[in-house]
Symmetry: C2
Subunit: 254 residues, 2 copies
């Protein structure tokens, strides 16, 4: 009997037993969710690594800012779909804050407005941003795919897909540290989006994690939550793939 | 040639030309929307007329309050679907208020909570209301139908379907006047829902009307807006049909 054949006869390790196996306890689920989000978060994407190392040209930064703006614009929309799935007023009272964080209120500027400031700080006009003139097809597909996921998935999956927020504070802090160093031509007031997202990401990530741990009681639901995190990481990663590849597109195919 | 045949040869009056005809101007559209909402609003339903005349028994009032609670619970959900259709942050910043009016905020009690007070004032427990134990099948169908309409229709149609709010202040004021007179056994503090909805309905009705007038520029869009108002009136009317018929259901079919 060969080693491979022996391997095939070995019992399946518990972590690969699939959705029919018993549920993980809440701590084990949290470890797996955090581990997956960390391992697959887009901070490890080559384009993001180059951004934080100060290796991006002004044009590359502008392409990223203009394209990520399409994502920013769609966050309140995906959050409204999630809101519509929440049956408890208490849950909605909490989740609605995310929409206000991005759209702002009559008193407080929101994340979309702050991203526009970032855009202006890197040399884009508000009009260029609003018209999504620089939007790459792959970015549109990735973002629309995410919005559709939140439209059609269960409340558990849609909330779980937001768990990339667990990694957001760290990436925001890195940008706050590295941008003034590597891109001194960007006015620091343009970085207020990154600043605000640190506490918001912490709060949102903890809240969503608590709900997912409370709701995902069967192994099947837990696997769904993990798959949702995985899907969301794919969305963010694909967005950067498209931005990274932007320069490779022939001019007449843009 | 008979009179009927002659009639058929007569030119179609302008108001029946159908969606291919030219658009109405904004004032004409407003008149038609208001006229339709007024003519078909559920304040003219026999059950509502009896309510305002003080003719309902305690049981009938309880059935109405318990069933209408299912509608109240679904308002923020239909409004979240509408929110997800609004592409402009400014529109969302405005519409989001409706969700907060019903769910409340950390500081302010919402309409769902106020309806629970009304329920308690007519002798229902919060638990009876929350479990929707008295929910009639026809009411569930009507309300779910409305939520699904807001889920699938265009932003214009979904917003237009809210235009029954134009008639809400009047019905709320009538209840505030007639309830203490006809149903003195209901503690007046239980009527705070009606009170709050007067200014909210005025504000919401005017806002939605302004948006519909701005958005419905072709005759086809204007007819869609009218059809949406008509549909919404049917929802509210059907709800009362079911509540009115509740006593007619054989006990073992309830």
């Amino acid at each position: 009997m060969t080693t491979t054949a022996l391997k095939n006869l070995a019992p399946t390790p518990p972590e690969h037993r699939g959705p029919d196996a018993g549920p993980w306890d809440a701590d084990e689920l949290e470890l797996r969710l955090r581990g997956l989000a960390t391992a697959r978060y887009h901070d490890r994407h080559p384009f993001n690594l180059r951004m934080h190392l100060g290796e991006l040209s002004r044009d590359e930064l502008r392409t990223w800012v203009a394209n990520r703006f399409y994502y920013q614009c769609n966050i309140p929309i995906k959050d409204a779909f999630i809101l519509a799935k929440l049956q408890q007023p208490a849950h909605r009272r909490s989740w609605i804050r995310r929409i206000q964080d991005h759209d702002g209120t009559t008193d407080v500027e929101g994340g979309i407005e702050r991203w526009l400031h970032l855009g202006e700080a890197v040399g884009l006009t508000r009009e260029e941003l609003h018209t999504h003139r620089h939007l790459l097809p792959g970015v549109r597909l990735a973002v629309d795919g995410y919005v559709n996921f939140c439209r059609h998935a269960s409340a558990l999956e849609a909330v779980a897909s937001s768990l990339t927020e667990l990694c957001a504070p760290s990436i925001m802090l890195t940008r706050l540290e590295t941008f003034p160093l590597h891109y001194p031509w960007i006015d620091v007031t343009g970085l207020s989006y990154f600043d605000k997202r640190v506490p918001q990401g912490r709060r949102d990530g903890s809240e969503a994690l608590a709900w997912v741990k409370e709701w995902a009681l069967t192994r099947d639901q837990q696997e769904q939550a993990l798959a949702a995190v995985s899907f969301k990481c794919d969305v963010l990663w694909s967005l950067l793939d498209s931005v990274q590849g932007a320069g490779d597109r022939p001019k007449d195919a843009r």
